[in-house]
């Protein structure tokens, strides 16, 4: 948390705010508004032994496991989407050692961050009751002190760092999200350090004009990085649709070659691309514009 007026920096500078061993939560949901540029930057910076948390995880799960960037994942669901199934290398890692994966339901996962965002040590919920998930997490059954009702207490999760990708932000970190906010507001309020990447950094007055759309106030934000198409190949609501052809190619490669396929993908899209801008160059303007056109079909005029 900082109140500096200008928090703009580069992806590499923002990556330096993340330390080996940190618990990092990534915003968005599955392949939507994922802070993809920032995640790749952490891989480029060769962070180690992170705990990566995300409500629904896509194939960043296996990018982080296969590189050793993360040695533990916390989520409620890991898959690429109906069409592609579960990331194969993620599956192999968990089948070898289930202790690397902490599994929650979607709401109980979210309430851990909601508790932290409220400055509370836990919250009660009706989820997880009677399930085998309960005994494999730090959640505990509790009785309501007023009604005696059996409930589940989920402990707050205070991440070291939250990575959030938004539509617009000003230099101080006042951030506006279009479309569903997922759990990003809770993550930003819960985390000790918050890195915001954005499609556009806009003047403060542009934020003020639509103050009712500001979801994250600058005083919880530590870093601001402008990264157009920063969720690509994932989607950003109203800006570009997820690139399913890219997912097809990725999954084919990983189904064929397993972990070596993950490393080949990273060699191509992180090392050889050199930077996220290099990655976008490699994708090409015509693909990016097509993804943008497809997104515009889906949002109200």
């Amino acid at each position: 948390m900082t109140t500096a007026a200008d928090k703009r920096m580069t992806l590499a500078e923002a990556a330096a705010l993340v330390k080996d061993g940190d618990t990092v939560v990534a915003g968005g949901c599955c392949y939507s508004r994922t802070p993809w540029a920032m995640l790749l930057e952490l891989l480029r910076a060769q962070r180690r032994e992170l705990t990566l948390a995300r409500n629904l995880m896509c194939y960043e799960s296996e990018l982080f496991l296969a590189t050793g960037a993360a040695d533990k994942l916390i989520s409620s669901w890991v898959g690429i989407g109906l069409r592609w199934g579960i990331p194969k290398v993620f599956r192999e890692y968990v089948e070898r050692d289930p202790s690397i994966y902490e599994e929650w339901s979607h709401l109980s996962f979210g309430m851990r961050f909601l508790a932290a965002s409220m400055g509370m040590p836990f919250l009660p919920t009706a989820s997880l009751l009677g399930s085998d998930l309960l005994g494999r997490t730090p959640a505990q059954e509790m009785r309501c002190p007023f009604t005696g009702e059996l409930l589940v207490a989920v402990p707050a999760l205070v991440p070291d760092v939250a990575l959030i990708h938004v539509h617009t932000v000003d230099a101080a970190g006042n951030a506006q999200i279009e479309g569903p906010v997922y759990m990003d507001v809770e993550y930003a309020r819960a985390a000790k350090t918050v890195i915001v990447t954005a499609e556009e950094v806009v003047p403060h007055e542009a934020i003020v004009r639509r103050a009712d759309r500001t979801q994250i106030p600058g005083f919880v934000v530590d870093a601001v990085v402008e990264v157009p198409f920063g969720s690509y190949p994932h989607e950003c609501h109203g800006r570009y649709e997820a690139d399913f052809a890219h997912f097809d190619a990725y999954t084919e490669q990983v189904i064929a070659d397993g972990e070596a396929g993950v490393h080949a993908y990273l060699a191509e899209w992180v090392e050889q691309a050199g930077s996220f801008a290099g990655l976008l160059d490699k994708v090409g303007a015509s693909t990016l514009l097509e993804q943008r056109r497809r997104a515009l079909d889906l949002v109200a005029a």
């Binding site: 669901w77 109906l82 997880l128 569903p180 997922y182 507001v185 949002v299």
Partner: protein, 272 residues
């Protein structure tokens, strides 16, 4: 084979039988929390055909979406799932309306389920030394813990219908109604399981699955052969009506968005 001009409606596939049977259970004016895939397709179909005031809610924060035919969402949180919604909210908020008791139906799929309607989408085999890791709960556990009437839709195969699930991701009746009450699951109940072979309900005394109706052309022994446990049988087993041409055409149009299947459905959707 006879020669005909133009496309003839093909026989319904098993997946279509299941989806259409599921859609008929959803009543107008209710709120359904639907998982992506078949439950969502069934919900959208119901809304377009017989339940125009059905409100669909989706896990990613989308309330009241209208799907774009040919572009049904592949994941519950994406732009396609938000198309035409009248409210987009946070994920916690969306689930907490459910915990508050605002959702009439919870409609999910299942990897593996047992005779008490307990669902496993986590591990096949011993969870400490698993044979297969599955995707996990996502919102399914929350849906079955809070939505008033829980409906499960899955293909009817012996490997899916097992005596006891390896892992309870999303609880049904656990080992019977009393065990469900003792576990604190008092807000709602599992109601039906819809498959490509049958419609199953739950016996109120034992909490066990019961055969209530057969899909057209399916025999009781087909169902038993594909169920890995002793399935209770209702005193009178009905046969579900075959999908109408309208239902099939509408469902196919939703899936592929092509205009060749849309001629009948245009009239349907504009009817009062």
């Amino acid at each position: 084979m006879t020669d005909r001009a133009g496309p003839t409606p093909a026989e319904p596939t098993p997946a279509e039988l299941m989806t259409i049977a599921g859609s008929r259970l959803l009543r107008d004016g209710r709120v359904v929390f639907a998982g992506v895939g078949a439950p969502l397709e069934a919900s959208v179909l119901a809304k377009r055909l017989h339940a125009p005031s059905l409100t669909i809610v989706l896990e990613g924060g989308s309330i009241g979406p209208r799907m774009l035919p040919g572009r049904l969402p592949v994941s519950t949180n994406e732009m396609r799932a938000a198309h035409g919604a009248f409210m987009l909210t946070s994920i916690n908020d969306l689930f907490l309306y459910g915990q508050r008791g605002c959702y009439d139906y919870g409609f999910i799929g299942a990897g593996q389920l047992d005779q008490y309607g307990n669902v496993n989408t986590s591990y096949i085999g011993d969870p400490d030394a698993p044979k297969v890791r599955l995707p996990g709960s996502g919102g399914a556990n929350d849906i079955v813990s809070s939505c008033r009437e829980v409906m499960i839709m899955t293909r009817h195969e012996p490997r899916r219908f097992v005596e006891r699930v390896d892992f309870i991701t999303s609880p049904g009746y656990l080992s019977g109604p009393e065990s469900r009450r003792r576990a604190g699951l008092v807000r709602n109940r599992p109601v039906s399981v819809i498959t490509d072979l049958a419609l199953l309900g739950f016996d109120e005394e034992t909490g066990r699955l019961r055969l209530d109706a057969l899909q057209p052309g399916v025999s009781e022994s087909d169902v038993h052969d594909n169920t890995g446990f002793e399935l209770l049988v209702s005193e009178t087993v009905a046969e579900l009506a075959a999908p109408t041409e309208q239902e099939l055409a509408e469902l196919r149009w939703l899936r592929d968005g092509s205009t060749t299947t849309s001629s009948t459905t245009r009239e349907v959707t504009s009817a009062p």
